[in-house]
């Protein structure tokens, strides 16, 4: 695993920012960390790069305890954050001059390629760049030394769709060679290209899974029964169950195939007149999961 946390906890005064979080990101993955604002994504990422120390638990990043990450480890780790402060009065060209000197493995050709692709104005001071262009500078600065791990904290927040696509395609050009952990409060922003997903709610990790298996087991199910539903206990794999007369809708989180689903529904609710199980997008899965969590709480 490139990232592995165990029961990671961080408190700010009385507020639990991260609670017993255990996350694993395999090598080569593009892992989307999704959660609403205040879910603890930024705190988790700051702990991973040793800006914050965890109160308890541990985090291994590239095999090193995050608390003991040395400057040399950052030759292999790129970190980009929406909140990161750059030397505003430095020009783009001078900023890259500075970064280039810090990394022995800096790929100057790739840097040129990224800067050209992102259309970064070399002479303009960083402080006078638009939000999107600043983010592109940060991404180019983090990709040009070809890190083994790239941690991106809300890189697409507030960017217009065109810039968002440019930034995403820039990042994903490194996918495979670089393991990427990318956070967002809106999964639609980062859906394309992600291989793994982890949902965070109020400091807790709700689930983490490869996107493929997650999408395979989640179904949006709509059922019309021949008679109103029986009052039977429902399977734990059903979320957000909504009944209205003979019509029932829910999210199945352990879908295998249509036949097995029909058998399960008929055993619990009665004979089906109509059953439809639709595949869900990551955004829909995210919404369904969060809604279920809110209702449970």
């Amino acid at each position: 695993m490139i990232i592995e946390t165990r029961s990671l906890t961080k408190k700010f005064w009385r507020h639990d920012a991260v609670r017993g979080l255990s996350l694993a990101v395999p090598e080569g993955a593009v892992c989307a960390l999704v959660g609403a604002n205040g879910a603890g994504k930024t705190t988790l990422m700051r702990m991973l790069v040793n800006i914050l120390k965890p109160d308890s638990g541990s985090a291994q990043v590239l095999g090193v305890d995050s608390r003991h990450l040395a400057p040399a480890d950052f030759l292999r780790i790129g970190y980009v954050s929406e909140n990161q402060e750059l030397p505003d009065r430095l020009s783009v060209a001078h900023y890259f001059d500075y970064l280039r000197a810090l990394y022995p493995g800096w790929d100057a050709a790739f840097e040129r390629e990224l800067r050209a692709g992102f259309e970064l104005p070399p002479a303009r001071p960083l402080g006078k760049l638009s939000r999107g262009t600043r983010m592109k500078v940060k991404i180019a600065g983090a990709l040009s030394f070809r890190p083994k791990l790239l941690i991106l904290d809300e890189p697409l927040s507030g960017l217009d769709p065109l810039v968002r696509d440019e930034v995403m395609s820039g990042m994903l050009s490194q996918a495979g060679e670089t393991t990427i952990l990318i956070s967002s409060h809106e999964i639609a922003e980062i859906e394309g290209g992600t291989t793994h997903v982890a949902f965070m709610v109020r400091g807790r990790l709700l689930l983490q899974e490869p996107v493929e298996s997650l999408c395979a087991r989640y179904r949006d199910v709509n059922v019309t029964l021949e008679a109103p539903a029986m009052d039977q206990s429902l399977p734990p794999s059903w979320m957000n169950v909504h009944r209205e007369g003979p019509m029932v809708s829910f999210t199945e989180t352990a879908f295998v195939d249509d036949r097995a689903l029909r058998e399960l529904v008929e055993a619990r609710l009665g004979r089906c007149h109509y059953l439809e199980a639709s595949a869900m997008s990551l955004l829909e899965i995210s919404k369904a999961t969060m809604r279920a969590t809110r209702e449970a709480e």
Binding site: I51, A70, P71, A72, Q84, E85, L90, H94, A101
Partner: protein, 526 residues
Amino acid sequence: MNTRLKLLGAVLLKDLRLFWLFAALTAVLNVVANFKAIVQLNQWTTGLVPIAVFLATNLFILLVFHEDSAVSGKRDWLTRPVPGMTMLAAKCIFVVVATVLPGVLGLILNEFHVGRPPVVALISGAAKGLTGAALLGPLGVMALAALTSNIRQAIVAVVAGMVVLFAGYGVWMESNAAFESGFPDNIDAASGSAWILMVPLELLGTLAALAVLWILYRRHHGRRAALVLVGVVTLAGGTFLATMNWSRMFGLQKWLSPDPAAGSSVAVSLLPGCFAVRTVAALGETGASAAGKIPARIFSDEQRGRAGDDAVAIAVRLVVDHIPEDGQLVVGRAQLTYRTADGAAVLLGTGRTNQRSDQQWVKTDTGHRAMDQYWLLSKKDYQRLAADPGTTTHIDYSLSLLGPRATAVFKADGRGAFRAGVGHCGAIASRADKGAGVYCYRIGSQPALLAARLDGRSNIEDRASGYPDFTPAILDFWGGRLHYMYVADAAASQVRVTAYEARAHFTRQFDVPGVLGGPVSSCPLP
């Protein structure tokens, strides 16, 4: 090592690109501020240059450190392969190059401008500009800058710190009547014991600043660094309050005497008869009195104003005998207190001495050494004291006996050479007035007093390079000092430089009836 240097260079280049204009401005201001000929050009430059250099230097340090803050988690460098100590080194180098070194350059230029030979000017400028006290200021601001998470917070912290410092000092002065007892305006003037207060504070300040910077840049522990700072400030405050008392300070100084018995052989007495007295209004004149002269400018305008126009200036002469051959006596402090029959006390505080070292000691008619101490007594206090026939005058002298540690005799031919126990010395004859400027540069621990005179003359003619300083050698390890002395009539003669060390520190008390050295009827007001 090469990687570290490369990283250091990258950070320095980045900071230079960001701050070159401000760095240049700060450097120029630091040169100018130490070049007295420019600062004292007129009242505007005298007032504005020090303020400008203070603001520019401190703001520059804050900006440079906040560019790559160690506290704020948002700074780019925290997730770059730059070791904290490399970042700190780069910041320190930039600050030293833009503020401290230009200050040293200014001092060198100033020394050269006032006529010192180039070598002497170079050594003197470096010695003055690179003292622990001179480096402590920037170091403190660096620590404060590193400890705060943004520039606004840092400015607020600096201003708040200064307000607290000045307010605390003011309250302390008022509540303890410290000013009236002559402390601290006289503490560093002649006593040689100021180190008891200053060295611990300097060391504590330096250690605290270094510890804060190390904890922040090496360990990244903001809270621990803040705790260290609070702890040290508390300790320093406690030390300040505990030692800022002359009797305690000199008590410690006495305890550190290498040979306490040596002081008992020294005979000191007050010149019999009435004290020399002048009204403040008559101080403009320099007429002789029974005990000598009361120099016109011995008291500051502020002191005169506080005492009132109808106050009188008193001169008390201390006569000294049985000083060991080649020994010197230093009057660290003389405190005068009047006591009335009913037990009330009027404290006149610390006596002032002639600021010119060549005019402090005089020879009496009997051939003894003597030194005058001066006090101001208000008319109101005089009338109250004179009305009480039981009034006595109590004078408390704190004295230090010095002995020679090493001597060097050489010609005033301009050639400098290392003289054992004294330092690298030379003397340059002045054709204009047949005198000679004598200089000695010494690294590390300094003698308690360094003085020069014509060879063959009595050591009463010693011309000291400054006030004595009894800092123990173990605490006097940093930097060096240029001692500069001027000996008159040195042409075609050899000069003798003596490095004195303290032998004993002791006190002597005298009680005299009346107010002005005798009963009011015998010693009336002039």
